[in-house]
Assembly symmetry: C2
């Protein structure tokens, strides 16, 4: 049974201080929903630990919430705590009784997860145990609530067949079944997202929860309708080797006169989307909820590009704006195919009404302009890749005495 949402819903956003979580909170608040956010500021802490920072001068969560209330007259509630703390999360869910939970509350960096054993354990602990705690709170407090979980296209890896949206019909030895699409995650972070998907699917099958897993591509861009021109509301923008994603990083490199660092050949192809489209997609999922017991997977991206294509695009846009932009192929710190088949289905969100923002020179130029405002804040040292997927390739390792 699908429960059609009322005009105003109680929306709980986990990771509501983050790059996407904060603009999502503003969007749902602007639409008149009752919004509460949960965050433990781990992204801010990880940046402090690595001596890096957001390009944009983000305000504290309280300052942002105050600024939004002054601007819009709307209140966003904040709960500061760890979702790995099951008691805390259960109290928040039990008191707020959300009708939708949008779950961004995870360690989302692949390089971070590959830095060390400690960072890998922190990533999988935070992501898997946090989400598991959430599933129990939903089961016990609000079993009809719609969970919208941010997944990643990186769960699929680069198989040699077309990627489907979560499930695939397999014919085998004269029989057939529709089963979870096989996963080949490319980092221990991506593994943690596969674990989450397995747990959430289980909770839908066994407990009858309803969930939408948004397997998102790589997001780019800074501004959304609610934050544009409002510096006190601006969201974070990461460009460092750990938390920065490729297109955002290239745009920063173009502005500061750093060569665009393409890892290896640059034939790595991925799905991409604009931050404005992330908000569209999450809204479409929320207003068209999964059915009770349904685990629904949407591939959330609008266009596919190779890394080399993106570097070319940024070089052209940069040249237009008078920058000298060089493209540099650096040794790939990751273990990944640099030339591969890639074709991922992504029709379900289009069917719900997604109107894609297309990436072109003009859009890249607008990102570059937004970056120019903060170019003095760039920490250039933080851009070069240092985290290797397989440190054993470089360093000597202890082997058994024999």
């Amino acid at each position: 049974m699908i429960r059609y949402p009322r005009a105003a819903m109680r929306v709980l956003i986990l990771g509501g201080d983050g790059y996407l979580g904060w603009p999502t909170a503003l969007r749902f608040s602007a639409r008149g929903h009752e919004v509460a956010v949960v965050d433990n500021f781990s992204r801010r802490r990880w940046h402090q630990e690595q001596s890096t920072d957001s390009l944009t001068p983000i305000r504290s969560l309280t300052e942002r919430i105050d600024a939004w209330r002054e601007l819009s007259g709307r209140q966003i509630a904040a709960h500061v705590g760890d979702i790995e703390d099951g008691e805390f999360l259960d109290r928040v869910v039990g008191e707020f009784l959300p009708e939708v939970v949008i779950h961004y509350g995870e360690q989302a960096s692949a390089p971070y997860s590959m830095q060390s054993r400690q960072a890998a354990v922190e990533t999988q602990y935070t992501n898997v145990i946090g989400t598991l705690n959430l599933l129990f709170s939903l089961r016990d407090r609000v079993p009809d609530c719609h969970l919208i979980k941010l997944g990643t296209m990186g769960e699929y890896g680069t198989p040699d067949i077309d990627i489907e949206e979560g499930f695939i019909e397999i014919e085998h030895k004269g029989r057939s079944d529709t089963l979870p699409f096989p996963k080949l995650p490319g980092s221990l972070y991506h593994c943690s997202k596969v674990h989450d998907s397995t747990n959430i699917h289980f909770a839908c099958r066994i407990w009858g929860l309803r969930a939408t897993d948004l397997n998102q591509g790589v997001v780019y861009g800074i501004e959304t309708d609610e934050t544009a021109g409002q510096e006190q509301l601006i969201t974070r923008f990461d460009y460092d080797e750990t938390f920065g994603t490729v297109l955002n990083r290239f745009c920063v490199q173009a502005v500061i006169g750093h060569p665009l660092t393409v890892y290896g050949e640059g034939g790595q192809t991925r799905g991409f989307l604009n931050i404005r489209d992330t908000l569209q997609c999450v809204e479409l999922a929320a207003t068209n909820p999964a059915a009770s017991g349904e685990f629904r997977v949407f591939n959330q991206f609008t266009e596919q590009f190779s890394v080399a294509e993106l570097a070319d695009l940024v070089r052209q846009a940069g040249n237009h704006l008078g920058y000298e932009v060089e493209v540099q192929n650096v040794e790939n710190p990751r273990v990944e195919l640099e030339s591969h088949y890639y074709n991922a289905t992504h029709t379900k969100l289009l069917d719900l009404g997604l109107e894609p923002t297309h990436l072109g020179e003009e859009l890249v130029e607008s990102i570059i302009h937004a970056i120019e405002r903060y170019k003095d804040r760039v920490i250039a040292d933080a851009i070069e890749p240092r985290t290797r997927w397989n440190p054993g390739e470089l360093e000597g390792r202890i082997v058994p005495a024999s």
Copy 2:
């Protein structure tokens, strides 16, 4: 490159105090290998917490090791600690420099994982983080070591197609690839084993580790070559609702005059194997290691039975021995299909030379005889299923005010 093992190897057994871990330690020690075991006695602790116990009067680890040394002249080293403690595990691996690690060191009960949020978190934390720590220690200390990991057939669930051994060739839209077999785990414990498989596969792909995942069926039986007739060496035997498995539980029920409790219809079909065959399989895997970078999956069982078939078999064997045995269909505490297609491939271990022990009345009678010796130790109260997969079906739950 396959490294052919020398006659004597350094074999590290995680969970070496357990039902299978201890007999495995004895087997490898008897063969002349250098054996070290790691355990934190969590299974003994969980039994204390639930006021249950092994049917067999198992000795402490130290007493068993002493008894084995007196009997065989061979020494087994013991390291007491948690594999979730990465520093501890890394120290053990770094000092012992194992050539083979056999990993039984997990919370292995499906009902335990479904008891509460806390038990679910403990299960996934213990299993996922423990195994992740191990992968880093292997990478950094002994990258050539062969990891033999106990998985479970329960990772696959009951898909409507034949189950293959870990991977399946999928033809899709005119292309094809061999990909991980899709998983439909049936409990949060089984989910944790799927997570482990994902992480281990990753470590083989990215770091070049070598691993064999033994997706084991349900094990039955008590005695192995090394323990038969040696009560001070006997392994544990669980029959309670939490840690007991179906055939062992039925045999105990037959002996104490308790109806055999079949959950639901009893059409649930699974793969089974004798504890003696577990040891055969693990030895075959150890002496025929995976190649460097290879993640190899064997389906480790010898025969398929439905629960109703097993109940019938135990009833017949019991009757032969003069017991009145009743079969009772109780309400199924689990959420699972009670009638389904099931056909799982299991040829890879046979190809390596596995000689299956076949289950029949005679074998059941021998298990019953072994149980009779300890029938006064049975805690009858602990057998009835109390842990429900979906407690929400019974209890009222808080729902959103609307």
